[in-house]
Symmetry: C2
Subunit: 151 residues, 2 copies
């Protein structure tokens, strides 16, 4: 964990550093609003339809879980150059539910300095999104472009 | 391409099948609205800040590009059991811009019947999100849980 407000640049980062986000409460209204705009499938929109689906009840779109995760990452991973993603790999071991309160644990798992540009590198982070019972809802590994402190 | 309205189940699918979505026009207002809720970083929110960033101008959140892609997939990939994702791998070769009109080309690249459950399998799809100039904005490979037709 880092001091509040301290921005981190490439030279400040080490493999194994961890960051814990604050919490974000989902609810039925938010799940349906996101799904209506971006993932309009019955099991994300309607309780009765969701009961009869393989989800056995209303479930958030996986992309909603990812988008909430991103919001939590922006406030919890204090890279001075921001969180600029080059790519990501995700899995959803279980669906996010309307009563879930999510938080995200992030760990730096690799740091790859650029060979051609000395002022930047790719930092690989793994972020686990958990609910209030510490049940895993999403596991994402992302490649983040991180810059050095300007001198 | 498939006939409009025809739903496809596991036994209908073959590697190499392709699907083309309709179009979705981004704009500055949508980019800022999504970023305000889910990815509040200066280069997604403010033109002047974005000009001075490594994006050289306002760019959509990668998760916004993915969410729009999902919306286009829901209407263009007519799997009878829906699009239930188990996981995905994405890259963003270039940022999505306010004047981009996106469409998505999807190809089935692998089909893996379940060994334990005869009524389902994992179908791997690759979806390329392109703008009106056929410039690639996102490349995503996703594992979709697909069911057989109920008999």
């Amino acid at each position: 964990m880092t001091e509040t407000g301290k921005k981190l640049y490439l030279e400040d980062l080490t493999v194994g550093m961890e960051f814990r986000s604050s919490e974000y409460a989902l609810d039925r209204e938010k799940i349906v609003a996101f799904a209506s705009e971006f993932d309009p499938q019955p099991f994300h929109l309607d309780d009765a339809a969701a009961e009869n689906s393989s989800f056995n009840g209303l479930a958030a779109s996986g992309w909603h879980t990812m988008s909430v995760t991103m919001r939590l990452l922006v406030e919890s991973v204090p890279f001075g150059s921001g969180l600029i993603g080059a790519g990501a790999e995700l899995s959803w071991p279980a669906p996010t539910r309307p009563d879930d309160v999510l938080h995200v644990w992030t760990e730096i798992i690799d740091i790859r300095p650029s060979r051609s540009k000395l002022d930047r590198g790719i930092v690989v982070i793994r972020s686990r999104t958990l609910n209030q019972h510490n049940e895993l809802r999403q596991d994402v590994t992302a490649k983040i472009l991180v810059f050095s402190r300007e001198v």
